[in-house]
Symmetry: C2
Subunit: 273 residues, 2 copies
């Protein structure tokens, strides 16, 4: 039986999942978080599902050594490839970023046409389409892989003519499909929200699974009596960050997008788990 005052484990291939951690911090400010970013093997989006499942299992074994009470796969590719495979092995709740985003997209659409943008791995898996059709089979889902958006974000070209040009090429196909709702199906993409919003136009609603996933996590923790005590110890040590490479670079990126609690990041050898 998990301890309600234990931390929540959150992981991603790198820094993208910090957009999910940020939402959890906003919506549940008392909860502790252990974050892991697999920066030695980033990115996941251009790798096979069997490889991503192997990496995911190693990370879950590491997070279990940190006594987490729940795990959030804050990475669309890993959710797409691994969630169904690993959830039966665990006796604590494990959530991905896909179900919550899919549900919100269905609630949002009026014309029944939803677009998904994501990595090659996420789109190739067809998981969004499958999950959405399980919930409502009359919805038309169009997926579009956008492989260059992650490197462009990681190079910091958030507001740049090149990013505009590349995004415009990727999105033109979706514009031809008359979608009214677009899921940002990669945790890096909320950082390009204004670019994508401008290109798609005001008639298209953007869905950010990071926000929805934090909401879903809160609900799951409530149902299972796992919400922490508000006074469960020092707030100084609330957030712990681990990576498989380049800890300092991670710390400075994390400090730039989180509300100020990034003291240090520790490096571990994830292949040993």
């Amino acid at each position: 039986m998990a301890d309600r005052n234990s931390p929540i484990g959150v992981f991603d291939s790198g820094v993208g999942g910090l957009t999910v951690a940020r939402e959890i911090m906003r919506q549940m400010p008392d909860e502790k978080i252990v974050y892991f970013g697999d920066t030695a093997r980033v990115p996941y989006g251009n790798k096979s599902c069997s490889t991503v499942i192997r990496f995911t299992r190693q990370i879950i074994r590491f997070l279990m050594t940190q006594d987490v009470k729940a795990i959030v796969i804050a990475c669309n590719t890993a959710t797409a490839c691994a969630l169904e495979t690993v959830e039966n092995d665990l006796d604590i709740p494990i959530l991905g970023v896909i179900h919550a985003g899919a549900r919100t997209a269905i609630e949002s659409t009026k014309n029944g046409k939803i677009g998904i943008i994501g990595t090659e791995g996420t789109i190739r898996s067809g998981v969004y389409s499958r999950v959405i059709k399980e919930m409502r089979e009359d919805i038309e889902v169009t997926g579009k892989p956008c492989p260059l958006l992650v490197p462009l974000v990681e190079e910091g070209l958030l507001h740049d003519s090149v990013t505009d040009e590349i995004a415009s090429r990727y999105l033109s196909e979706l514009k031809g499909k008359y979608i009214d709702t677009l899921v940002l199906g990669c945790t890096h993409y909320p950082l390009l929200r204004s670019t994508v919003g401008r290109l798609m136009g005001p008639e298209v609603t953007l869905v950010n699974p990071a926000y929805e996933t934090a909401l879903e996590l809160k609900q799951v923790l409530e149902e299972q009596g796992l919400i922490c005590d508000p006074d469960n110890g020092s707030s100084i040590d609330k957030y712990h960050f681990y990576v498989s490479d380049l800890a300092e670079k991670f710390t400075s990126f994390a400090a730039s997008i989180l509300p100020g609690q990034v003291k240090e990041t520790r490096q571990i050898n994830i292949e040993e788990f």
Copy 2:
């Protein structure tokens, strides 16, 4: 004592090193090659040297199980980070791609100003500058990291306005330094040779370390009596390809740039080595 009819081991983080393998095939058509591409952990260019050294050691252990007579690190980042560390552990020749390129750049320059383009890891290591200055200390070396060129090549945007724009931004700094020689310090970059050549202009000589490295390898094998017999068995099984992920995708990329000998690619779990 290595057998002269054993294969040459060649490795890279992914497909880039195939430009080196291709030169070896052209210059020494009788030699056997075992190629390994670390496609589960690609790219190396944005990772730390300690991580790249760990990956390199695993790959060398794998290649030794294939009884290679010599090893070529067909990756600038791995050469920059790992060559000096690993060469003492081995009793067969091991070559990187940096020394040969550096030597040719020195022979080419007339004004003593050499530029290097490469990944973050290669440029940050300062290895080209160090190697060149060891050979001739009056040379002025300017390095410029070009992190987006690898993803652009891997997406196939070899002749594209976006690649032109990004390359032009990276190269403008080097143009201001009045270099007359530019080293293509990443094994992906020969695939952008025409773009880089056009942007730099005809007065700048481009050095492709892939070509120079194959020449150096031939010389080393000759010196050590390790050139194969011309009739050392069937030519059908001359080239073997291994990767850590996505074997089929690798096979089709390799078939598109090699002269037609790519039968199949086998996937191995490199973390076990």
